[in-house]
Symmetry: C2
Subunit: 203 residues, 2 copies
DNA sequence: TAGTGTTAAACAAACGTTTGAACAAGGATC
DNA sequence: GATCCTTGTTCAAACGTTTGTTTAACACTA
């Protein structure tokens, strides 16, 4: 039996594998990494992957589950009793914070969108649809209160807002030298996007 | 020597390989497809890939070169003598048309952004930077003519517009049931995005 | 004959997974 | 307290496939 100190100093094999597999899967994609590479970085025997996760796909699924778990918190916006516009701002702020806190999430996000694995249907797609539905709903709410201009489609508008903020982070590898992507500028970016969006949709 | 009819009915090995490799690379990623799979679909011997392209990477580079070649035409907007806002609309329309005409471009686009191959630096990054620069420049032009509100950062605004239109297509695999992505709705989408953007940036 | 295109077969290397032995710890039995 | 057995964990080694690439022979044209 493995001992478990209070500080959790013992290298818990399961969690070590997830920790080392995450950046590797994120940067090279599922097929770009070998189980030996992961095990090597984690200083763990290769067979541990099959032992704990039933195989490479199982480890990948575990990584993705951990990554997309944070997206469920977007649902908290739904129940809040605040202005729809404030909800959108909250979403934008939460998105920025999410990407800063977890630099690999967006990679899994887009990697699964473009080259889906079996995990796409079970993990990624439901997570994305959840977010889109909330944004749609929020805009429809504002529309019914005559807060936004009529004629605007809730879906198009929701995707437009999500696109502005997500695309900024997605393009970072290509525009790193052209654009200042430092976290210090995040606040400016958020206000910028909310500024354009607000003027764009308000009555 | 291979014979070459006027109708080009003979299966030109080089172009056949590119034609069959394109959807495969796009849907599964560089590491998700094997050379045997490509050769099988193309009904061509495996060794032809090394013979014509020097290897798998060479074939992939040829595919990417063909795909990203169309992005160079964005530069045509630069020289036009029209309103900056009209230039933005032209960019949005051209982008939609580009994705409709070539359903694989966006996949290579984002696949290279998230899991870059050696082609990213040589092909993808320059192409993306070229587009971003033109959008930046266009907005700065409008700013200097006091057409747009002051205080708006040209880069953030350019990326915001690009994000709105690109993200819509990127999310299609996940929101297919939630959103109508049919080409018939393209015109509505374009006007929608331009509507939000125009009101968002205009003085 | 020389040169180009195409083929099936073979190449070493890497792939994900499985194996069986070894090990350490906890509880039960004497 | 010493012994045994069970259970969970780890290991090096080997498994059979598949990987990308190369080879040598062949067909055809100029």
């Amino acid at each position: 039996m493995k001992e478990r100190t209070l500080e959790n100093t013992d290298a818990d094999c399961r969690e070590t594998l997830i920790a080392f597999a995450t950046p590797l899967f994120a940067e090279k994609g599922f097929n770009g990494v070998s189980v030996r590479e992961i095990a090597g970085y984690a200083s763990v025997n290769v067979s541990m992957i099959s032992y704990y996760f039933g195989g490479k796909e199982g480890l990948y699924a575990a990584v993705l589950n951990e990554q997309f778990g944070v997206l469920k918190r977007v649902a908290e916006i739904r129940t809040m009793e605040i202005d729809p516009l404030k909800k959108f701002e909250l979403y934008v702020r939460a998105t920025v914070a999410r990407y800063r806190r977890n630099p690999y999430l967006l990679r899994f996000y887009t990697s699964e969108l473009t080259n889906p694995t079996p995990c796409f249907v079970t993990i990624v797609k439901p997570a994305i649809q959840g977010v889109v539905k909330i944004l749609q709903e929020t805009f429809a709410d504002g529309l019914s209160h005559h807060q936004f201009r009529e004629g605007l489609d809730p879906t198009d508008t929701a995707l437009a807002l999500a696109g502005m903020i997500n695309f900024y982070f997605l393009l970072e590898p290509a525009t790193g030298e052209l654009v200042d992507h430092s976290p210090e500028r995040d606040e400016e970016l958020i206000q910028h996007i909310m500024d354009i969006f607000t003027r764009g949709v308000l009555k």
